[in-house]
Amino acid sequence: MSITFENVSYIYSEGTPFRYEALSEINLEIEEGKMTAVIGETGSGKSTLVQHLNALLLPTKGTVHILGRTIEAGTQPKGLKSLRGDAGLVFQFPEYQLFEETVIKDIAFGPKNFGISEEEALKRARNAMKLVGLDEQYEERSPLELSGGQKRRVAIAGILAMDPKVLVLDEPTAGLDPMSTVRMMELFRKLNKEHGKTVLIVTHDMEQVFRYCDNVIVVEHGRIRTQSSVSEFFRDSSVCRGMNILPPAMIRMRDLLNENGFDIADTVMDTEALVNAVERQVKRHG
C-alpha cells in the first residue's frame, strides 16, 4: 500500500485574476512505513502538496489515494474527519493554532475531537508531551505564554496525541535551536521505525534528508522534479548540484577528496565508510 497522486493539479483562486496554478499534473508515490522528505525552493508548492494528504485542499484536477480512501477532483469526499485523524498534519509555523487555557488541554483538544474520552485524551496528551520533551511543569501553563520553540513542541504534541497513521510535518524544525532540532528529528525517526508511522517531512535541510529519510521528493515550480531514494539521490552529487541543491557535508567532503587525488567510490555514503576508504588509500600510498 502506498499514497499516490495521479495527475494532480491545484489552482488557487480559480476564476479570478489572482488565479495561480500551484501544482501541475503531479504524479507521485509515497511508500507507507517510510520516512520521505519533500524538498524544493520557497514557493515551489511543498505546503500545497502536503495539504492534499488530509484533504485540507482538494485537487482541482486528478486523484489522490491515501489510506484506502480516494479523493477525486470535483467530488465531495466522504469520511473526511476520519482521514484527518489518520493523517495528522503539522502546519508550517503551527504555533499559531494554540488557543486553550493550558498546554495539556490544548494537546488533548485534537484527540477529543475524534471522539476519544476526556480521560484517555489527557493520558495521550501527557504521553505526547513526554515524546516532544516537555516536562510536567508545563502542563498547566498557558500555551500563549510559551516561547516560540516551546509552542512548536506543544503544537506537534497536539498532532501526535491524535496517534495518526501518517504523520505529515511542514518544516517542523524551522527556527528551532540545533539541539531541539536533533531531538525532534530523532523523535520522528523513532515514530517511524518503532511505531511504524509513515512520516512525510518538508524541509530545507539536506543534512536532515540525508541522515533521517528513506526517500526524497523534489518539487520545482509546482512539478515533481525527481522522486527517488535518498541514497540514490545523493550518490552522484552532480545530480543535486544540477538542481541547485547543496549536497550534505559528508558528500561534499567525498567530492573534495576525489578532486584532490583520492578515488572514493560513490557507493560510500556514510562517515564511517568514508573514513575507512580514506584510511585504506592513504595506507596503500604510504
Partner: protein, 266 residues
C-alpha cells in the same frame, strides 16, 4: 472565503484604474448621493446603465459584482420578510399561507434591493480599480481642507490604509488557522452546540493573538523607521488631476443633477 470579493482590488489595467483616486472618490460620493434621490424607476434605470458602462470599461465582469453582492443576500431576504410583516398598506398582491403580501411591501423591498445593488456596483467601481494605498492618499488629500477645523486628516488616512492593508492578511490568517484546526478534527459545519462553540473559540483566540502580534510588530517597524504621527512628511507619490479626472467628476455631477430633475418631474 477565497470567494470573498467585496472591496477587493483587481489588478487590471484600464482607463478607470489609471484615474486619480480623488476624482474617483468624489465621483463615487456624488453617485451615492444620487442613489438616495427618489427619481423613480427611470432614474434607477439610467444609473444602472451608466454604472454598468463604467464597470465594463474597468474590465470587471458582472460575475465579480454578483459575487460581491452574495454576502448581502441573507440581509435582503430578512429585509423582505420584515417589510412583508410590517408594511400592510395598499393593495393585496397575493396571499400565501393565509398571509397577505401587500404591493407596497414588495415595492419598498425592491427599491431597497435596487439601491443596495447600485451601491455595491458604485463602491466596487472604486475599490476594485484603486489600490488601497492610492485610495488613502486620495482620502488624505480630500480631508486636507478640514484640517483647519482640527480634523486629523493624515492620521485618519493612515488608520484607513493600515486597516485596508490588514484585511487580506487577516483573511489569509483566518484561513490558515481554520485549516490548522481542521487538521485537529475541528468540524465547523457539524457537531453539537458545545463543539461549535469550541470550534469558534479555536479560531478566534489564535486570530486575536496574531492580530495583536501583527499590530505590535507594525508599530515597532514604523517607529524604527522614524514615523511620528503629526509630523510633516513628504510623499513618494504625488497625485495629479488630468482632464479625464475632471470629466469624471463632471459626469457624476451631471448624473446627480439628472436624478434631481427626474425626481422633480415625478
Amino acid at each position: 472565503m477565497g470567494e470573498f470579493t467585496l472591496g477587493r482590488y483587481m489588478p487590471l489595467d484600464s482607463p478607470i484604474h489609471r484615474m486619480d483616486p480623488r476624482a474617483k472618490i468624489m465621483a463615487m460620493l456624488l453617485c451615492l448621493i444620487a442613489i438616495f434621490i427618489p427619481a423613480g424607476w427611470i432614474g434607477y434605470g439610467v444609473m444602472f446603465v451608466v454604472i454598468s458602462g463604467v464597470i465594463l470599461r474597468a474590465g470587471l465582469s458582472f460575475r465579480f459584482v454578483w459575487k460581491s453582492m452574495k454576502p448581502m443576500m441573507i440581509m435582503m431576504i430578512f429585509l423582505f420578510i420584515m417589510n412583508c410583516v410590517v408594511l400592510r398598506t395598499g393593495d393585496v398582491l397575493f396571499t400565501v399561507f393565509g398571509i397577505s403580501i401587500y404591493k407596497e411591501a414588495v415595492l419598498q423591498t425592491l427599491y431597497i434591493v435596487v439601491r443596495l445593488l447600485l451601491m455595491v456596483m458604485i463602491t466596487t467601481c472604486l475599490t476594485a480599480t484603486t489600490k488601497p494605498l492610492d485610495m488613502t492618499l486620495g482620502i488624505e488629500d480630500l480631508l486636507k481642507p478640514f484640517e483647519r477645523i482640527h480634523v486629523p486628516a493624515h492620521e485618519i488616512a493612515m488608520l484607513i490604509s493600515i486597516a485596508l492593508r490588514f484585511i487580506p492578511d487577516l483573511i489569509e490568517e483566518t484561513q490558515r488557522i481554520m485549516k490548522a484546526q481542521e487538521s485537529r478534527g475541528v468540524d465547523l459545519k457539524e457537531g453539537s452546540l458545545k463543539e461549535k462553540i469550541m470550534a469558534i473559540l479555536s479560531l478566534i483566540v489564535p486570530l486575536f493573538v496574531s492580530a495583536f502580534q501583527r499590530a505590535e510588530d507594525l508599530a515597532n517597524a514604523m517607529e524604527a523607521r522614524g514615523y511620528a504621527p503629526g509630523e510633516p512628511r513628504t510623499r513618494y507619490k504625488v497625485l495629479k488631476m488630468t482632464t479625464a479626472d475632471w470629466l469624471l467628476i463632471g459626469c457624476a455631477a451631471l448624473l446627480l443633477a439628472a436624478m434631481i430633475v427626474l425626481a422633480r418631474m415625478a
